[in-house]
Symmetry: C2
Subunit: 397 residues, 2 copies
């Protein structure tokens, strides 16, 4: 992320601290070459080796307390104004900085609900508590999850533009896949075709290449988070692919569904068509309900209920997640009230959130129908960011 | 890492659990696309989205408790034999697995001392404790740091071979840099020359390309963990470069020192030669003291004292760290007893540890002299893995 974009996000963070009346936000890290807080790229722009505190205050100050060997690097990076180097132990320098800020409430990088706000490891937390045990600050900590959810979720104009370009690049590749698929190719062949295009165009896949793209052909495919296998495309298969590329670090995450015609067919069988249509309609109905203030589970329920009423099993995951620099981004999640999602389904959608909508159903003996679209939450509804798939793509053998 | 190498490391882990009499080791993670436990590549070989427990027992069992959507992927990866999928909440399935193992002592992935053993985030720790609060297991936890230090530190034959190849590839590039350096080039020019070679040869730098290589020319350079700048090479500069590439994921990490002759010179000035020789001698003396059973701070002290006795300031960092899949790897560290290093300087060197030796000193008005070599700890001493630099490299203008 460029220095300008980071400074823009820091400025946004200061506004959020004021809105939520939190005196300061501290991101506490170490050895980020080994394990990296997910917020560092967005609000710092460099790594840290020894214990390091990156602080943003409600009044707009920025402080970095870091190992002295990294002083010059931090100056060169230029994202934090006040730099406080230490040699042997961070404690004294850290307490001095906190004493100068005098915060009553300090948000730190831990969260039970959101992995993106949960960058402080448990051992490091114990270290921090030990440094501050004789101060009043040890009792001032709250989770940074609300700040992180707002900062990552409320997309700026630049962030939305980057996302749109990522979607455009991704959909172009889906079109090329439609021309490429034929019986006899394996899931891996299709994935490699896609990865070759990415390499030629210098496009970075949105998640690990082991399952980006994920390709599933026919009945009895592997689970949704699996990589492509040697399973071969056959006539009568429903195929789906889950894929996206990044633009300037911002991800697309989309799915499309194909049907491979038998030589005697000129359209998909009625069961396939029905399953596909149910997915399309469930997306339309969900999107119609989305607007700021709605809780994620309410939207999830629209698609989930519709699919079950139409006679299919409910999908074993959430309806949609936010997308940004991470594929699973932001706070609020459109998911059922299952414990594994913690409080995320209860958070409200906000203006300028970018969400996927990705219901799924199994068409018995054919395969999985799933479409994943991306939408932007607007003042009173949504804007479609992806050009919707409304017809199943037919492959002629 | 290949499946075979992961299975080799899991087997080694079982031996370590027996040696240390720990019933089981649990690596507890979630959303590893956002934040990744540093051990996952070595002992799992895939990512996890929902809360997931990777368990290795003293009796050699492996269990993965994971979100049901990742069942098929885990089967395909094939590194864990017993796979326990869950849909809504990990708790019941996790407790069932623990009840079947009946462990008295459970090592989990947190550590105050070692970031490599500290992959569980604090929010996730709170989640885990909540799942287990009604069981006896919540009181059975110890840090996995001893297991991680042994598993990462005791290198197998394959790991040592990979390290040797990485060193060979790196030193070849250092030789080419010696031919390339001339007055007028900037630190960035030299870094780009190196990165171009890496790209051409398909070599992956050992750490972030922002400061791999790190290049420092002349007096008043940036700190050790800084990236290259526009500062230009001049006659009379001492230059040093910190750099390494990986082979099959195993890192090299080396430093070399050059002197840029004035047109009237045919050797380095006496002050430069003296500084350089002190570095070489401090490395020799440190290496002579290294053997299994020594504590890291004892070795650090040898070089630190020698350099100070010779009239230079002590270096503001440790003498040497372990190297492996991470540049800063393993447990034991050859560093002074500064609080920022926690207990790592007190740990003992073990056979088959790979260490750097990298003292540094400032030659006033010329620049920084620093050499970083890599050694393997043997039964009763060390084997040099890198071909040592014993003469300062001279650049003719």
């Amino acid at each position: 992320m460029s220095k300008d974009m980071i400074l823009e996000k820091i400025e946004q963070a200061v506004k959020i601290l004021n809105e939520k009346n939190i005196d300061m936000w501290m991101t506490y890290v170490r050895e980020t070459g080994n394990i990296k807080d997910p917020m560092l790229d967005m609000i710092v722009g460099t790594n840290a080796t020894w214990q390091t505190a990156f602080i943003i205050t409600k009044s707009g100050e920025t402080h970095a307390v870091l190992g002295s060997l990294e002083l010059e690097n931090m100056k060169a990076v230029g994202t934090y104004k006040n730099i406080h180097p230490y040699l042997k132990n961070i404690k004294d320098e850290l307490v001095k900085v906190l004493d100068s800020i005098k915060p009553n409430k300090i948000a730190i990088n831990f969260s039970r609900n959101s992995s993106l706000a949960d960058g402080m490891t448990y051992g490091l937390y114990l270290e921090l508590m030990d440094h501050l045990k004789e101060t009043k600050y040890a009792n001032s900590f709250i989770s940074s999850e609300e700040i992180v959810a707002a900062l990552r979720g409320r997309k700026s104009h630049t962030e939305i533009s980057n996302t749109k370009k990522a979607i455009e690049d991704t959909l172009k590749i889906f079109d090329e896949v439609t021309k490429f698929i034929k019986p006899g190719l394996s899931e891996k062949d299709i994935a490699n075709f896609v990865l070759d295009i990415c390499e030629k165009r210098g496009l970075e896949p949105s998640w690990e290449v082991e399952h980006c793209p994920a390709v599933f052909t026919g009945p009895n495919t592997a689970g949704a988070h699996s990589g492509p296998t040697d399973r071969k495309v056959e006539c009568g298969h429903v195929i789906n692919m889950d894929f996206g590329v990044k633009h300037n670090g911002y991800c697309a995450d989309l799915q499309r569904t194909w049907y491979v015609l038998h030589p005697h067919e000129d359209k998909a069988p009625i069961e396939v068509q029905k399953g596909f249509d149910v997915i399309v309609e469930s997306i339309t109905r969900s999107a119609n309900e989305m607007k700021p203030g709605k809780q994620g589970w309410e939207i999830d329920q629209v698609a989930r209920n519709y699919i079950q009423i139409c006679g299919y099993d409910e999908f074993p995951h959430g309806l949609g997640h936010q997308v940004g620099r991470a594929t699973h981004d932001g706070g609020a999640l459109m998911a059922p009230k299952w414990e594994r999602y913690n409080n995320l389904p209860y958070l409200e959608l906000e203006e300028n959130n970018v969400f996927t909508i990705e219901p799924r159903l199994t068409i018995k003996d054919y395969g999985i129908a799933t479409i994943e679209e991306m939408v932007l939450v607007t003042k009173d509804g949504v804007e479609w960011l992806s050009n919707r798939q409304k017809e199943i793509y037919l492959i002629k053998p």
